[in-house]
């Protein structure tokens, strides 16, 4: 579009007291040729906004530069329609509230920010939403036909969308088929599993199509455009879907590994899964002689909470045992159940069921088993009783039930291996290393994605493809693919239902947003997407390797193949690209580069250093705003540039800035490592990796490595901002001015 720019400066909130407006008006005109530049004492008031609207109507202004408060506030006030570009220059929090008023350095700071804003607005274009050539599908594929899968499909269908279930067994139901009863809210009793009714609802729903004895052989494409090959009974069917819910459930922990608890050694030592199956198939009997058991011991945490087996808690086994003790009592009211446990974990209202179980006469022993054996056809155990503080012995046991835990179906039996990168220390003799869980090549086959970064969802520890985010529990690392139920974490049936219901929400939301060309979380609604100039691409593969969401495939010549509907718009690819061929309409290497270029770098004699700070706009930027709100003061020599994510940081900016005489570069980004906080998973980590490679550039320029620094800043760390800046300023002072000034 033909741009007609207008600059509007607010003098309220102390801005007018802190800086002179006239010189700013002059520079806008002289340096950027923008003839419209107005000030208002209260720009966010109806009168102030009207001033801008007048210019839009009468002067044809379509690119509006607001020099006022932080872009975090008044977004609605300064919205002039989707066809207008609005750029915000933060003269309040980052200048007036944090700097000495009417100081020469404050004035220079404000002027630089206005320059940077004008330059950015000049380079920015309105994003046009991506629209694929193929037709979009809004159908949802649900892999797994157990409780989670059936629930998800039904919820999708009830909301008016179509669902397709792929179940590997010959009938729907999953583990529910093995279950006799459920224990569920309000936890006052045992309830029917509801399996038949659920299967009937699924089969009767015209919006649900079911494939049984079927597996997903191949999934290609991207959200809105997935093409799925389903192998079923010897033939292959193809379905087009918009989003995917993986609800492939769990498998019991292999009890053969629990020989120390007598499994495999004594016939009457069974697992909770085996007991459940017996209970639903005619009754609970001793495997050795088929008698109904009188004395039953349940051993909790049989493998769970044990670093040798499953280090995590399986969360449902306490309730399952209470339920199964009720089965035993129901079968034989004279029978006695003992429960040997570490902590009884009946959270929330489930505590009710624990109380009920205690009242029913079941005997709870807090302790640890030390020995199990057989005597005269009956079992005995010895344990440390924590309450009595002594060793106890239980004899004449008819049955010992091991409360074993849940393993996600995604967890491979053996960790797959891959070719080790050069120089890897932990490589084996054949040059192979174990695939880490957060790789797309780790999990057991379920989706068979045709993705350059692997066929399955990356997982967390123990193989759960769950979200790492507390606030965003449905975020997987593959756009449009959500997980539900026990594949995510061990959970009781009531929670499985809720979880699958939520996953259905995310799936339909994804197909709706995809159709409109919008990004899903965390840049929800963003219409921009990366465009690549393939002619200048050198097939270095950095973008395809580094994309945290596996959005980019490769052709046989290693050219990147972008899938815009898989993209989260973080710009990591843009930051990774050494040839600078990837850009967004409103965010590009050139755009940020030009912002750096308009910063006024004073001569060395003036003793006014310049520091460029690249700031994560999600966390560090709000932290700086808060520091401003608190009226903290910091050096007027720093210039903040917000980035979508530090993952989009392109090293060329640092090289350019340093060669222009900017004295230091500071990066403020999110915590990385195990408890990473980056909303784009790997952004801040990648930025640090790239920084480690900056030494070459610094050497070439004969500059000190201290000139570039990364600091982790969380959103609540606003109180650290002045100190971080001061420390860096001190370092730069020690290192001395950049010799490239004036070149």
């Amino acid at each position: 579009m033909e741009k007609k720019m207008g600059v509007y400066i607010c003098t309220g909130c102390g801005i007018g007291d802190a800086i002179d407006i006239e010189p700013i008006k002059d520079l806008v005109d002289e340096e950027f040729n923008i003839s419209i530049c107005k000030e208002h004492p209260f720009l966010c008031s109806p009168e102030g906004v009207e001033l801008i609207k007048q210019d839009i109507d009468n002067e044809g202004v379509n690119t509006i530069i607001i020099c006022a408060c932080s872009p975090r506030v008044n977004q609605d006030v300064f919205f002039f329609g989707p066809d207008k570009i609005v750029e915000r220059v933060n003269l309040r929090e980052h200048v007036a509230w944090s700097q000495e008023p009417k100081d020469e350095d404050t004035q220079m700071l404000a002027e630089d920010y206005v320059r940077m804003g004008c330059s950015k607005a000049k380079d920015m274009e309105l994003p046009e939403p991506f629209k694929a050539e193929q037709e979009y599908s809004k159908d949802i594929l649900v892999v797994g036909g157990g409780l989670a899968g059936m629930t998800a499909a039904l919820e999708v269908a009830k909301a008016g969308y179509k669902a397709i279930i792929v179940e590997k067994e010959d009938s729907l139901g999953g583990f529910l088929k093995k279950m006799k009863k459920r224990v569920a809210p309000p936890y006052e009793d045992l309830y029917d599993t509801g399996l038949e009714e659920l299967v009937k609802q699924v089969n009767d729903n015209p919006n649900i199509k079911v494939y049984t004895s079927a597996v997903v052989e191949k999934t290609s494409g991207a959200p809105g455009l997935f093409s799925v090959q389903i192998k079923t009974n010897g033939s292959v069917a193809e379905e087009k879907v918009g989003a995917i819910i993986q609800a492939t459930g769990w498998v019991p922990y292999d009890p053969k590994r629990l020989e120390s608890l007598g499994y495999g050694k004594f016939k009457d030592v069974i697992t909770n899964v085996e007991l459940e199956q017996m209970a639903s198939n005619g009754g609970i009997k001793r495997p050795s002689d088929g008698q109904s058991p009188k004395n039953v011991l349940f051993i909790q945490c049989a493998g769970q909470r044990d670093s040798e087996h499953l280090p995590y808690c399986s969360s449902v086994c306490c309730l399952v045992t209470l339920k199964q003790a009720a089965y035993i009592k129901e079968q034989d009211p004279e029978a006695v159940c003992y429960v040997l446990f570490k902590d009884m974990r009946t959270v929330g209202q489930a505590e009710e069921f624990y109380k009920k179980s205690q009242l029913a006469g079941n005997i709870f022993i807090r302790g640890t088993i030390t020995q199990i054996g057989e005597e005269g056809g009956k079992l005995f155990i010895e344990a440390e009783d924590e309450f009595l503080g002594e060793k106890i012995r239980l004899e004449e046991l008819d049955l010992v039930v091991l409360a074993t835990g849940m393993v996600p179906s995604s967890q491979p039996e053996e960790t797959p291996k891959m070719k080790a990168p050069e120089g890897a220390e932990d490589a084996d003799e054949e040059g192979m290393i174990e695939v880490p869980p957060d790789s797309g090549f780790y999990a057991k086959p379920a989706l068979n994605l045709e993705y350059r970064q692997g066929p399955e969802l990356p997982t967390l520890r123990y193989g759960f493809p769950d979200s790492h985010f507390i606030c965003f529990p449905y975020e997987t690392r593959r756009t449009g693919i959500y997980t539900a139920g026990c594949i995510r974490r061990p959970m009781e049936t009531a929670r499985v239902i809720d979880d699958a219901t939520g996953a259905a929400m995310k799936a339909i939301q994804c197909v709706e947003m995809t159709e409109k060309g919008m990004a899903v979380h965390p840049r929800s609604g963003d219409l921009s997407y990366p465009e690549v100039n393939l002619q200048r691409c050198t097939q270095c593969k950095r973008c395809t390797e580094e994309c945290p969401f596996g959005a980019i495939n490769e052709d046989e010549k290693a050219n990147p193949l972008f899938n815009p509907t898989r993209c989260r718009r973080c710009g990591t690819c843009m930051g990774a690209c050494p040839e600078r061929v990837i850009s967004f309409k409103n965010y590009s290497v050139v755009m940020i580069g030009n912002m750096i270029n308009v910063i006024n770098v004073p001569e060395e004699e003036e003793e006014k250093p310049r520091i460029l700070v690249f700031v994560c706009e999600n966390d560090a930027y709000p932290a700086i705003d808060m520091a401003g709100i608190k009226r903290y003061k910091w050096s007027p020599y720093v210039r903040f540039i917000p980035l979508r994510c530090l993952g989009s940081l392109n090293l060329v900016w640092i090289a350019d800035a340093l060669s222009r005489g900017i004295d230091g570069i500071l990066l403020l980004g999110c915590r990385h490592g195990d408890d990473y906080q980056c909303h784009f998973i790997k952004g801040s980590e990648l930025a640090t990796v790239r920084l480690s490679k900056i030494s070459e550039t610094l050497e070439r320029l004969a500059l000190e490595s201290e000139r570039v620094r990364f600091e982790e800043v969380g959103i609540s760390d606003y109180w650290r901002i002045p100190q971080i800046i001061e420390d860096f300023m001190n370092t730069i002072e020690e290192v001395g001015p950049n010799p490239y000034k004036g070149f």
Binding site: E155, D343, E351, M491, S524, G525, S716
Partner: protein, 418 residues
């Protein structure tokens, strides 16, 4: 075919309510959100960190508010609450009451009013552990970012002084309570929870002893924007806390108080033990508990906390807490059920791990199934009004968000059903 109102009403603007509103709006539905407080974000805004990542709640809220700012499908009202609901699925009439804020949307947060205001009130954000001016920004990250005037000064000279100091004419002392009706096709009740009132547990003496605090107060002590700037100091004399105890199940799992388990207090205390250890490296922590309920992968967090030798776990239901004269130290007594011995231990400060009480539907409204504690049940029989988050079960943030996401599709089904 009956007309179905296409609005979804969300009651409560905490983590659950904000999530439910956003999830529905981003799928293309219109949402009206009402929040009782002057800002969105709910209880988690007062928390220092989340378990197990020890990350700040504002991080996720910032993203959510960003989503909200750019989504025209969500309208929200603060200081607002429903007072009556009538009708049925697809067609509800809801009466909403908005309390006067006395500050209009003209407020720029410049802070001039606060500078001239001299009256101080107990800071609700800090559970009364600090004072705040009677015209105030509730907290730094408040969204919407706008001041609020405490009603106690309305009608006084002080209020007029604030009004005169405002350069933008943003203070309206004639603002009145507003009551109006809206229509909605479905309602999500996400009104959250309140801490169990600790003074009801008489044998602990909360309210009598200054150094006996609750777990939610502990969050404020640890927060950098709290009453002690993030230093863990005890209230009686601002002494750095060296010996601290956490008393689990303070009211929870107790027939005389809350018979249910509050679900998150174990993990909250494990987290707070780390706050203390991190901020006061010399400190020693003792956790008195019945069962540590760190479900699923939270077990890793428990394992991590246990590795700190200065954090001791004693299995005991504490019977009494008394204050030592002169020192303000607290004496904790009970039985160590592991060792079978009587405990009598002295601490600088004691934290009661109090439980969660649901803010259930307590206004005139169509019948919604609840359990005997007031938690809202979700069944397939009663449709149209759905609970989300801690009104359904006492639970952590991630589960609340999951649940709120589920409630959103239920609400969508209610308005697209006919």
């Amino acid at each position: 075919m009956e007309a179905t109102n296409q609005n979804i009403l969300v009651v409560g603007g905490g983590m659950s309510g904000v999530t439910a509103a956003l999830e529905a709006a981003e799928a293309g539905y219109n949402v009206i959100l009402v929040e009782k407080r002057p800002y969105l974000g709910g209880k988690v805004t007062q928390f220092y960190h989340y378990f197990p990542k020890l990350c700040p709640p504002n991080c996720g809220l910032e993203i959510n508010f960003k989503r909200m700012k750019q989504n025209p499908r969500i309208r929200f009202f603060t200081m607002a609450e429903p007072v009556k609901i009538s009708g049925k699925e697809g067609d509800y009439d809801v009466t909403i009451k908005i309390s006067p804020r006395y500050v209009t949307e003209k407020c720029t947060c410049c802070g001039k009013c606060e500078e001239v205001c001299e009256t101080e009130i107990d800071n609700p954000f800090d559970f009364g552990l600090s004072k705040i001016k009677a015209i105030y920004l509730p907290h730094e990250f408040a969204f919407p970012m706008r001041y609020v005037m405490d009603p106690s000064i309305v009608g006084t000279e002080e209020a007029k002084k604030c009004q005169q100091a405002c350069p933008y004419g943003a203070i309206d002392l004639d603002m009145k309570e507003q009551v109006f009706d809206i229509k909605a096709g479905a309602i999500i009740w996400a009104a959250g929870w309140e801490p169990y009132e600790a003074n009801k547990i008489e044998y602990y003496g909360f309210g009598e002893y200054k150094n006996l605090i609750t777990n939610v107060m502990m969050e404020r002590l640890a927060a950098p924007n709290g009453p002690t700037d993030g230093k863990i100091l005890r209230p009686s004399d601002n002494k750095e806390v060296k010996k601290i105890a956490f008393v689990q199940c303070a009211g929870s799992r107790d027939e005389n108080h809350l018979p249910y388990c509050s679900g998150v207090c174990c993990l909250a205390s494990l987290k707070q033990a780390l706050y203390v250890r991190e901020k006061n490296p010399e400190s020693e922590v003792t956790i008195f508990y019945i069962d540590i309920r760190a479900l699923d992968r939270y077990e890793d967090f428990f394992t991590k906390v246990k590795q700190d030798e200065k954090i001791n776990f004693i299995r005991s239901k504490i019977a009494t807490i008394t204050e030592e004269e002169n020192t303000g130290d607290l004496i904790v007594e009970g039985e160590d059920t592991h060792k079978g011995e009587q405990i009598r231990m002295k601490f600088d400060m004691v934290v009661l791990a109090t439980g969660l009480v649901p803010n259930t539907i307590n206004i005139e409204a169509p019948d919604v199934p609840k359990d005997k504690f007031g938690f809202i049940l979700r069944d397939d029989v009663v449709k149209g009004i759905y609970g989300a988050g801690c009104v359904r079960r006492p639970t952590d943030v991630a589960t609340s968000v999951q649940d709120a996401t589920a409630a959103a599709i239920k609400a969508i089904q209610s308005i697209s059903r006919r």
